[in-house]
């Protein structure tokens, strides 16, 4: 029998969370050490005995026993806060208390609270995401560094700083706290960034990042206090985008743009789920950028062929997004929709007049959009110039390959 892929990663978040409830957030290093130790011991046993029928239950039980053992032997309880310490010091209450911490319900709640703790406003957004990935999703420092294409040492420093802030807060974030609303938007933002890192990044773990963002989103939806319309909208957005993941790269790992994707490879279940979530997001009074972005994704996902795309509706949605959260990138996408509806010249005109367009100077897809529209307008010379500029700005291999291929297409056309 084989170990399910990422078995340990999947359990790491839950076990670290349960253990840091027991030992306190200031002892998170201890919780992590114990978790690693549980995994290593499990493997020592499994290598001779074989992988058990239910490795998941086995791991949780081993972690629980290890915690009990540690509390008995090391008298860790003395360092804990008085109320919990008392429960854990007495043999009468030790085991029931630990059992309670390891119950499925309690772990699910604590996992959620851990995410909220990681998204502390004292930390930068990147640190919040990295810390969430590390503590709630069980990614190693090396995996996180590679996911963000950063140096491992820099990422380690970031995460250590994050842990210090966590330690100072002593308790996991309390969902009944008055700060919940602000913290919830930080959590939304972190999940959004995590998903985007997976969707647009070039790391080896990209789809896993998307999957983790969706898993944590689903945790939010399950909890009445945080299942807000915005939460639904964010989950809809992720679901609709994730549906396209199987069609986004060709067998060589090269990016395929939306217009050329094989739509039969889109995941129909995820589109259905995304549509449903989007419906459910439509209550309350708040219309968030996530709502509009999800609606935009839905327009694409629900078009059977690229030519069926409702560009008029997209322009309307982009206009709305420009009023809620204006940005040059949104304006860029709006210009592309306009070009589809009213011709490439109209799109080029829009692109040239984007407010704060200078912010797009280093964004490869601005130059690429100009190139694409010039190409469509028949000006191969200008198209080539823009694509060459875009290529010079490419940030990773996937982008570079994509732009090289567009440039090839322009050169081919020029020869004909």
């Amino acid at each position: 029998m084989q170990v399910e892929e990422h078995l340990f990663r999947q359990h790491s978040g839950r076990i670290v969370t349960a253990l840091s409830r027991i030992f306190g957030l200031e002892n998170i290093a201890l919780a992590e050490d114990v978790t690693q130790d549980v995994f290593c011991r499990a493997l020592e046993v499994w290598k001779l005995r074989g992988v058990p029928e239910n490795p998941s239950a086995w791991l949780m039980k081993a972690a629980k026993n290890r915690a009990i053992d540690l509390l008995r032997r090391e008298r860790v309880a003395r360092r804990l806060e008085p109320e919990l310490g008392r429960l854990l010091e007495s043999e009468w209450t030790l085991v029931p208390t630990i059992n309670e911490f390891f119950s499925a319900e309690s772990i699910k709640d604590d996992e959620l609270r851990m995410i909220f703790s990681c998204c502390d406003p004292e930390l930068s957004e990147t640190t919040q995401v990295a810390l969430t990935l590390h503590l709630a999703c069980g990614f190693t420092m090396a995996e996180i560094a590679s996911a963000f294409l950063r140096k491992r040492s820099a990422m380690e420093k970031r995460i250590e700083r994050g842990k210090k802030v966590l330690a100072n807060s002593k308790h996991l974030f309390d969902l009944s706290d008055g700060e919940l609303k602000t913290r919830l938007s930080a959590v939304h933002r972190a999940l959004y960034l995590l998903f985007n890192e997976g969707y647009h990044g070039a790391s080896a773990v990209r789809t896993e990042l998307c999957r983790e963002a969706m898993r944590l989103g689903a945790l939010l939806i399950e909890h009445p206090l945080v299942a807000s319309p915005v939460t639904y909208a964010l989950c809809a957005l992720m679901s609709l985008h994730a549906a396209r993941l199987p069609a986004r790269l060709d067998p060589d790992g090269d990016l395929i743009d939306l217009a050329h994707q094989d739509r039969s490879r889109w995941e129909i279940e995820l589109i259905g789920k995304g549509n449903e979530l989007l419906d459910r997001s439509a209550f309350g009074t708040e219309l968030s950028a996530y709502h509009v972005e999800a609606a935009i994704a839905a327009v694409h996902s629900n078009a059977l062929h690229a030519e069926d795309t409702d560009w008029g509706r997209l322009i309307w949605l982009y206009d709305m997004l420009m009023t809620i959260r204006p940005s040059p990138v949104v304006a860029l996408n709006r210009a592309i929709a306009l070009a589809q509806q009213n011709g490439p010249e109209r799109g080029i005109e829009e692109l040239r007049t984007i407010e704060h367009g200078e912010l797009l100077a280093s964004y490869p897809f601005y130059a690429a959009a100009l190139g694409e529209l010039e190409f469509r307008a028949g000006d191969n010379g200008n198209a080539r110039k823009h694509f060459e500029e875009a290529l010079g700005l490419a940030r990773n291999r996937v982008e570079r390959r994509f732009l090289e291929r567009r440039l090839d297409a322009v050169r081919d056309a020029a020869l004909r």
Binding site: M1, F8, Q36, A42, L43, W46, K47, L48, V51, T140
Partner: protein, 111 residues
């Protein structure tokens, strides 16, 4: 067929789950292979590193089996083989050698 015990000595405990998983896959594969060929009598058990030794006329109790960690028995498995030579041959594929350990092959005394 005679019975033998493999005593696993030394080797390194994994320092990360990823490392441990690799090691475990090797072990599971190796033992499965022995089982398929009809040599696996009992998978045996892994042993904790810690322990006590009771020794001498005074029954002195000391910590730890051995001062050298490379000598510590970390587990055992029961094997069936034609003879000691074959039992030793079968141990050659054991993944413990990858981490610097050794397999002690001992015939179980017959009545």
């Amino acid at each position: 067929m005679s019975e033998f015990v493999y005593l696993y000595r030394g080797g390194q405990r994994p320092d990360s789950p990823a490392d441990g998983e690799k090691q475990m896959q090797l072990w599971v594969g190796w033992l499965q292979d022995l089982a398929n060929k009809g040599h696996l009598k009992d998978r045996g058990q892994p042993l904790e590193q810690e322990g006590k030794v009771v020794s001498g006329k005074q029954r002195t109790v000391t910590d730890g089996p051995y001062p050298e960690s490379k000598d510590i028995v970390g587990g055992y498995t029961l094997i069936e083989a034609k003879d000691l030579a074959q039992a030793a041959d079968l141990a050659v594929g054991c993944p413990i050698f990858e981490t610097g350990g050794a397999v002690e092959v001992r015939p179980i005394m017959k009545m």
